[in-house]
Subunit: 153 residues, 2 copies
């Protein structure tokens, strides 16, 4: 019988894919609004209390508008775009850092002509995101800059 193979401690990068790392759906299709975004789990290990994921949004795509108790620690690894963080819409570029505090509404959007790839560190033990009610969305859209950001769908 073959000995079980030990995973290689070095995983090579090529064109925003990594060896021995699956390209996954961002979320279950139909579970929430999103567009043109994929997920790769770069590090998840019983020895680690947090995990590191890589999300990649194609030009014109976006993540789900949501919030949760747990915090997101984000580093933009590829390209750029914009993100909504609470009451602000901010431009984001490669290697910028983004802190999403607990219960802050957030959404990431790639530029029309560029990918947006980002690392996201989260605790392994964390709560599920919630999406805005119609009322909460209306309150966000009261700010014309946020309304313009959200209506690009």
């Amino acid at each position: 019988m073959d000995k079980p193979q030990k995973p290689d401690p070095v995983r090579r990068f090529r064109d925003y894919r990594w060896d021995a790392t699956d390209l996954l759906a961002y979320k279950e299709e139909g579970s929430a609004p999103f567009k043109a975004i994929t997920r790769q789990t770069l590090f998840r290990d019983p020895a680690l209390r947090a995990e590191l994921r890589y999300f990649e949004v194609s030009p014109g795509g976006y993540s789900t508008l949501e919030r949760h108790e747990h915090m997101h620690a984000v580093l933009i690894l590829r390209g750029g775009g914009e993100c909504l963080i609470g009451g602000e819409v901010r431009k984001i570029q490669t290697n910028d850092l983004v802190s999403i505090a607990p219960w802050t509404w957030h959404q990431f959007r790639a530029s029309a002509d560029d990918h947006l790839g980002f690392l996201c560190m989260v605790n392994v033990e964390r709560d599920k995101p919630v999406q805005p009610t119609a009322e909460e969305r209306k309150a966000l859209e009261a700010d014309p800059r946020i309304a313009a950001f959200l209506k690009q769908d």
Copy 2:
């Protein structure tokens, strides 16, 4: 009295420095052998069970040869070089992933002509690294590839 200023959720990147992020000594001078390496803590927050640091090694520099119970999850952000992981010396390039399992000897070295910058995710609660005894170092050096890697100091 001025209201305490809320930290900006977006920290801009410029030339491997980030806004509102201190450039720190790698370790206390004289506490362990290392050369030409700096540290920036990108994310450390009471809401996170892990922290994300950025280490940058100048050409010809290196981190301390050490091991510990806690795991390192590494992504090379800039340049390249080599690392020792247990019994292996491996080439590393930008965006490659490196998993340092518990109690594995490891050391990062920049190329002679390139910087080596890497992200390192670790648990907030973790043990202190230990350095090899003379005997353990001798055992490592029994492998000529490891001896060649270590003698570049």
